[in-house]
Symmetry: D2
Subunit: 339 residues, 4 copies
């Protein structure tokens, strides 16, 4: 930590801050400038948010953390990329770029099987579909729950595609884990810490979506919650952040992909469908994501988008998804990856 | 809904959109302009997010919802303010402005009792304190859980102040409800819909904090989740939203207080401590909140802020809280309220 | 500056950074932690953005500025509030809270005089009205320019109210200064540095609006541009920042008022009309601004809002402005001010 | 426009709104729903912001514009992409993707010539460099002005690269236009409407950067200001928007590239250097921009970044720019473009 004293802080105040730093188990290193004194507090900062409380002391202007707050998610303990294997040949973090595709919601056995066949034919490697749906309105379709999981399992049976599906509450983790190949934690639950601890108890891959208004730091701290429970199979998923722009549903933050390559060994998948909120933009953004170095894609595809029970406006019809996959293959090759 | 067709949409496309509108149970009302055709879809929009999927149809530019998506939280079914009574004399939504005060975390029996005595002496009407703590880092103090609830109960016993405390997971709702007078849903859980349904089953007041990046619309929809389960005792709490400004932790949105007076009958409390993140700003913002028409305040007060286990930088020392209460009383009187 | 080295930075890299710090005229103070080395660079940071370029050196993680970049706008050289006098009895920064009111645009001699009479009758102390209008669309009314200034002068003649009006370009500064009592720099021009330098040459008060997406730091730096030219009569004006919320036009940031009291001696006026974008919210926010400690208000009032050429939706009709002034008087008294 | 009446608006209020619509020259088309009445106002909306003032009338809930406010910048009058030719072989909007590269500021004749030679060798097609610098601080280097323009001209002389340089004020437009091949309007001046009108008088290409907090709509309206003056040679430049994320300087919005392909015929260039603020991220984002369909790139390159007078942290050293160009060539080929 760096503790910046106010201009004109009294000698006694500087003394008291140093005493408090020692009391908390750190060694103070004061630097006396002409205008201001700055005190370095040396020691392990992680988990020590108490140092931040020094801001309540007289004469202190602000307290600046220096160390990264994440240990297991960061690069200091592990420098090479983590490989998260879902099944034979489906691995996140390696040279291949797996593509997760499918509808927002599982609506019926027919719909999810049709979607699975279509996305498989186009080259997708995993199937997505929601059985538990976090909906803004209590009056919207909330998902078929276990029935939906069974429909997903049937689609996997038929096509061989591993399945990614969301879990929204601790009490459903065990059940969802019985069916899913990857459990998804949705954007709205990125800081549902009890749910994070629960999936941390599993030994199955978890896809952790970034919250709408969460910084990359906070996102890695949420990954840390899962890792700290012993589940090292975490895949991050960027899906757009909230900004003032209204022509897209959210703003896809592809810089996050590039930042995360430098900050973490965890693979990063990009979901351009939720970010854009409009199907016309999905292909461009998918190509951009791969060019930026994404380790995977997640794309909403529905057999008949205009009849979708949710997210129809951002879902691709199967023929458009075929086109997207063609582009993705070419761009992946250009950056030394393959799909 | 208003469906805006693209400039130059074909007559056949306009026809197909109207057919689809009819198929979904609505009556289409086309308006043919010189440049563009616009179609009104008359019928109850709520819960009908499927109309939005028309954006996937050829020739459609965008779909604009017209009706408010909330029914129970809105003013159409109930125009007078809801009065949420916590105990004799402590009512949110009436002429009195209850003040909730206390530390971020319950740290020890001594600390919470000292805090309770101090805030009561200054005129607070409810005690806050966290027994379950949603912390960004898994290595930070996570709360004393049931032990903390017991300490809160002891502080209530001693001072008579009703208690407000957070519940973070469905499985703890019953336990927390046994101790708390008001259950708080934190900002990070504003869209934890299973938790909302669970507190909706109670018949106890719920304080619903606004999510960091949630619109007022989404916030009211989350209240709707609780109300739709039959629990009509919802108090909203504005606590700052995420913006680009870094001199405050979040940006307190007092416009929300004014908007909500017009959109909802639910009382609105303001928490300037979490919004500001710096104790020096709390008094000014508390006064502003009351002037804007807030129905209550929530203020972090700690017996010794610089030793707080969490949120020390934004907690008031007791003597500063006394000063704040003096100001609040004067401003409340100026706007026809009392504390 | 604090230069944070990467974990594992080589000794040679640490050496080179120190050499570069010395080359730029600073003294390096390294602090060697277990995981990371941090180097303090002691010396005057202001104007030395070149230190930031050290981020391009091998082994450097980031460079954190410590000193405030503003000198004249900050509290270090001047601790007591600046008093900006516009005319006898109209002073910003003292115990009185001047209220600027009037229409968005000067539309006609009749309209501006009617507005001036109405706001004066209600107790306003200055008249606003735009003769040069920054409009998003080139097809919108762009203002009557010098003709409009003459209409404003006539309204001043009749009512005695000093006038506040916007200047948008350097080449018009001299002309506008001939008519205006305070020159307004609009939000969109907050970082039009040539315009800032031009009004810095004047010896007349300048009202500097905060840019839509500008931090408080950047705002004070823009004030510094004016002050550095020798014009010490700067009044700041908060008018809402851009966020994701769509029920208001912008989000009024009243925390800025409280922050600025601690960061600067310059008075701060609040404009709730542009922030809210809806007349119904203006009164609540005006009261809140005064409670938070604002040194003035700026309110849009139009004789017939529904016929306004611009900003009709956010303008108050005269009778509503009367009501607002009553509330403002009471709240001002409650916080020891008067109107 | 669509005028949405409040639930329960009186018949008389609905009548008065229709009368006002007629008075403004539009035809009202009411649609009577069960809960609410909605009125379509048919006619040309552009430039008619006065309809928005209907929000001030009793019974009106909100007014929703339907038509695009831009005419010349939009796709309705011109559907094929505009080709903006700078010199023989350097055209924005065609199959080739021009790359603009060079330092933030022109520091000396040697520096700009060294930069020009380096970027040319790597394959850049235009040279950038600032002679007028908009700096947050009045104490930072403000540019060499005409001297700087001469240094740029000398670098062009030597390398043959056309030059892009910023103009900050109307009074310098003529001078800058004498030297520059493309005049840049910086982000901070995107809504400096007088400056836009001035460059609209030229018959030279203008590079219009997006403002930090400006929507795509506002950006196109600023382009409209230039086009409406008769200068049809406008190139847009996305350079990041302001969000809450702090690990990057701004958030690059690549969705804007994809949106603009559908909304406008104007070419779009992407500047990842200013968006990221960190040189390590620039290559990934440049590749992503080309994959998303950008019509050009703008990259900061400095002969010795750690000695740069401005923006050193985000500037590439020449050898890294060579590597970036290699990647850009491969990705461009993958999407059917060339560099």
């Amino acid at each position: 930590m760096i503790i910046v004293m106010q201009a004109g802080a009294a000698a006694r105040e500087i003394e008291e801050v140093q005493a408090e730093i020692r009391r908390l188990g750190y060694t103070p290193h004061p630097i006396y400038g002409v205008e201001r004194t700055v005190i370095g507090a040396i020691g392990d900062e992680r988990g020590k948010t108490r140092l931040q409380a020094l801001e309540a002391m007289a004469g202190v202007e602000r307290v600046i953390p220096i160390l990264k707050p994440y240990k297991l998610a960061g690069m200091e303990l592990r420098r090479e990329k983590s490989l998260i294997a879902v099944s034979a040949g489906v691995v996140f973090g390696g040279p291949k770029v797996p593509v997760i595709a499918g509808p927002c919601s599982v609506e019926s056995a027919e719909q999810i099987c049709a979607a699975a066949r279509a996305v498989k034919a186009a080259g997708a490697t995993l199937l997505r579909g929601g059985a538990y749906k976090p909906r803004t309105s209590p009056y919207s379709f909330q998902g078929w729950e276990e029935e939906g999981l069974k429909m997903l399992a049937a689609a996997r049976e038929e096509t061989g595609l591993p399945i990614v599906t969301e879990v929204m509450r601790e009490s459903a983790v065990e059940l969802v884990a019985r069916y899913a190949d990857i459990l998804q934690i949705g954007a709205r639950n990125m800081q549902n810490f009890d749910l994070l601890k629960a999936v941390g108890q599993l030994r199955k891959p978890v896809l952790l979506k970034r919250g709408l208004a969460n910084t990359i730091h906070e996102w890695l701290m949420s990954a840390e919650y899962i890792l700290a429970q012993g589940n090292m199979q975490v895949v991050l998923c960027e899906r757009g952040i909230r900004t003032f722009e209204t022509m897209t549903r959210h703003t896809l933050d592809l810089s996050a992909v590039s930042v995360l390559k430098r900050e973490s060994h965890l693979p990063v998948v990009v979901d351009p469908s939720h970010a854009a909120g409009r199907w016309e933009l999905v292909e461009d953004l998918a190509l951009a994501a791969v060019a930026a170095g994404a380790d995977g894609l997640m794309i909403e595809v529905h057999p008949r988008p205009q009849e979708a029970w949710s997210d129809g406006a951002q879902s691709l019809a199967p023929e458009r998804f075929v086109r997207l996959m063609d582009g993705v293959r070419r761009v992946a090759a250009a950056v030394g990856r393959e799909v």
